[in-house]
Amino acid sequence: MSQRLAELAATTDLAADPVGFASDPWWLILFKAVLVFAFCVVMTLFAIWWERKVVAWMQMRIGPKHVGPQGLLQSLADGVKLAFKEDIIVKAADKPVYILAPVVSMVPAFMAFAVIPMGGQVSMFGHQTHLQLTDLPVGVLYILATASVGIYGIVLAGWSSGSTYPLLGSLRSTAQMISYEVAMGLSFAGVFLYSGSMSTSTIVGQQGDTWFAVLLPVSFIIYIVAMVGETNRAPFDLPEAEGELVGGFHTEYSSLKFALFFLAEYVNMVVVSSLATTLFLGGYRAPWPITAVWDGANSGWWTLLWYFLKVQLFLFLFIWLRGTLPRLRYDQFMRLGWKVLIPTSLVWLMLIATVRAMKNEGYDYRGIVLGIAGAIIAILVLSVVWDMFRGTDDEEEKAKAAQPPPGAPGAAEPFDPMAGGFPVPPLPGQELPPVPRRAVRRAEPVGAMVGNGNGTGSADDESATDATDKEV
């Protein structure tokens, strides 16, 4: 194991002076741990501000601009305000679980960050160290595990609130997150197949030449969809669908506990974005055109910049989706997960495994096969998704064509109890006479409409029209 790790490490740029992750002095480790938390919180504050600004821009608004330059401190102000708010624990709540839930939701989100490589090897206080807290040999699995623990927070929050909306919200949320976690996990398997490792730093190192997003387009797409589902963000934000379940699982939460849920959501967004960057977009390594002209792009603190930019790219995607799309309905969402994403992942995984095995056996048309198969599957996925949402478009067109042309009289209509008459059904045995008024389409002289008895009558009886004619 260790031998293989060393080999893999040698393939990366870190090879110049490979430093083990355990060789940092304890104070540096502690400092980095605190730094990870600080980074998460700052990223959350920034992401909220960024989201509000971008969504505002999409909606022709200005967005926050009063607190701090360009409103940058708005989310900080909001966070502080939340901490100052009265904390209400409703009587029906199960108190210990109710308090524990936001903690269970938030801490794993932070913990997942421990294995995210945010940058290469840098010099920090005179020590060579990685911009990554720890490098578990099963780093990606560890992230999956922490994400699963985070789900408990939501389930428990909904259950312990002792109220209907949170309960429904949390049940939805659970079913949703576990469904998408399966698809997410299967998309990882493709990456492992190529990287030969579950360690995040090794996976980044393996993408020196080609990003896995290029090699594994289907896995990448599936991961993108799954990560949006996993973080409960639009268009998959069903657990907190405010139109249906009010606030969803956090309806009964207030003050700091609510803020923790908020924090957890955004940290989770940053985590899944970081994971996408790490697994598919070459992690903290500079994108191709930059490396071609600048050798130093992949060294030192610069790597943090590339990492940050790539994460921002995904965060922007989250925001863009939120600004554009309505929410899916629950069953549509589950159908997408179980009937599209999971089968596709399985097929795709076996496909790349086969191709890899063939390559190992000495066949050489790997690239061609992979390209073609990838394209076919990508098209299949897209078409399935398309069909699911599009429905049968032709029907709509036909229905439109069947509409009477503008201004055409509705005289061709079959029997219609409401036509021109009163909105009441005919009495038993009563035949509504052929519409009297519809046929009369004379253009009345303007201004004279007050006098004619045409527009009079009572809601109960048609014959009452006569009575009103007396003031003509």
Binding site: R329, W386, P417, E471
Partner: protein
């Protein structure tokens, strides 16, 4: 009705799934107002739904009886706060008919124009809020931008942004300001130019279609049985529009412009597309009215009224095609300066009743789609 008193998986003797009673409203984000729905759920499926109304009841009809005809307008334009002008219209038409009053032609055309602009305002509101209920947060801002433009011209003439109070018995309050017709035309053109944005953003969105197509299908028979009217009825194929079928104001002369938008499906998508098409029709009508107003010779826009306005003894029923449906006023006068009775038939009241037919058997998530597509104003329900 079983009440939910059993904890999750509490014991083997009670392994039935209990029906859960879920109150949607009176304070709920998707009812935009204080409508309350009492739902009995099995999981996420609705078993029964009962609209409980009256949280906003203000006794408008009773208040009408102690106001003179000029004051009634202030009250009457409030029940459906999105279509104030159209509400005023019904009252003045009833009173004018009782008085046998001939309204100046310019007033008639201006009223038609303002009624159509008001219809656009109301429709745009729902075109924005309906996607919002389905989770799309952006369209409402585009809708409000368009509303703003029309509201600006409405505000210019009436001074109001919501409760215009521009109708008077016998005409309008004041003449149109100089140059207003041009500005109104620009506003209409601006809104028309941006309707495709809403159409692309919402109507063409796959998720939106998936959520609305085939959902909450309202049959033609149900429409008739419940007296549903307006765009909701027309989306179910009920080809009924008072503007065409019983022309009031100047609609009789606009038959070549007035196109009654109908759909056959009766689902949420049909209701939405009906609404969006009606906006375009209304904009066409507004343009036609503007054309006509420009050619009309100058003249009075209202009539001088006696100090004490008394409708002669008798009764009449004036109904208008409001943005949300048929809005009727049954006016009974005993020759006094206040009506003896002024019955209000509001569109939303009837339209919402049909929810108890539509909702059972649907999912909670569909409930929101259906509720939003009924295009109601709570004040219009509760009066």
């Amino acid at each position: 009705m079983t009440e939910a008193t059993v904890g999750v998986g509490i014991g083997a003797d009670q392994l039935d799934t209990t029906d859960m009673v879920l109150n949607i409203g009176p304070q709920h984000p998707s009812t935009h107002g204080v409508l309350r729905l009492r739902l009995v759920l099995d999981g996420e499926r609705i078993i029964t739904a009962e609209p409980i109304i009256g949280y906003m009841h203000r006794g408008a009809e009773k208040l009408f009886e102690v106001r003179d005809y000029r004051q009634i307008l202030v009250l009457a334009n409030r029940h459906d706060w999105l279509s104030a002008f159209a509400n005023e219209l019904g009252v003045v038409l009833a009173v004018e008919r009782m008085l046998g009053m001939e309204v100046p032609e310019r007033a008639v055309w201006a009223r038609t124009l303002l009624a159509e602009l008001n219809r656009v305002l109301s429709h745009l509101m729902f075109l924005g809020s309906y996607p919002l209920e389905l989770g799309a947060i952006t369209p409402i801002f585009h809708a409000f931008r368009d509303r703003e433009e029309i509201q600006a011209v409405m505000e210019e003439i009436s001074g109001g942004r919501m409760h215009f109070m521009f109708n008077r018995v016998g005409g309008l309050k004041e003449d149109l300001p100089a140059g207003w017709l041009g500005r109104a035309r620009a506003a209409v053109a601006g809104v028309r130019g941006r309707v495709p944005v809403l159409r692309d953003l919402v109507h063409g969105n796959e998720i939106f279609r998936a959520r609305t197509k085939g959902v909450g299908v309202l049959s033609r028979e149900t429409v008739h049985a419940y007296g549903v009217s307006g765009p909701i009825a027309r989306a179910s194929g009920v080809d009924f529009d008072l503007r065409r079928d019983e022309p009031y104001l100047a609609y009789g002369e606009l038959t070549d412009v007035l196109r009654v938008v109908t759909r056959e499906e009766g689902d949420c998508l049909a209701r939405f597309s009906c609404l969006i098409d009606q906006v375009e029709v209304s904009l066409d009508l507004a343009d036609a009215c503007l054309d006509r107003l420009e050619t009309l010779p100058p003249g009075p826009i209202n009539l001088r009224l006696p100090k004490v306005l008394k409708a002669p003894e008798g009764h009449t029923y004036a109904w208008t095609e409001n943005p949300l449906g048929v809005n009727g006023y049954y006016l009974v006068s005993r020759g006094e300066k206040t009506p003896w009775r002024l019955k209000l038939r509001s569109a939303s009241f009837n339209n919402v009743q049909v929810l108890s037919e539509l909702l059972p058997g649907t999912l909670v998530a569909d409930m929101v789609a259906i509720l939003g597509s009924m295009f109601f104003v709570v004040g219009d329900i509760d009066k």
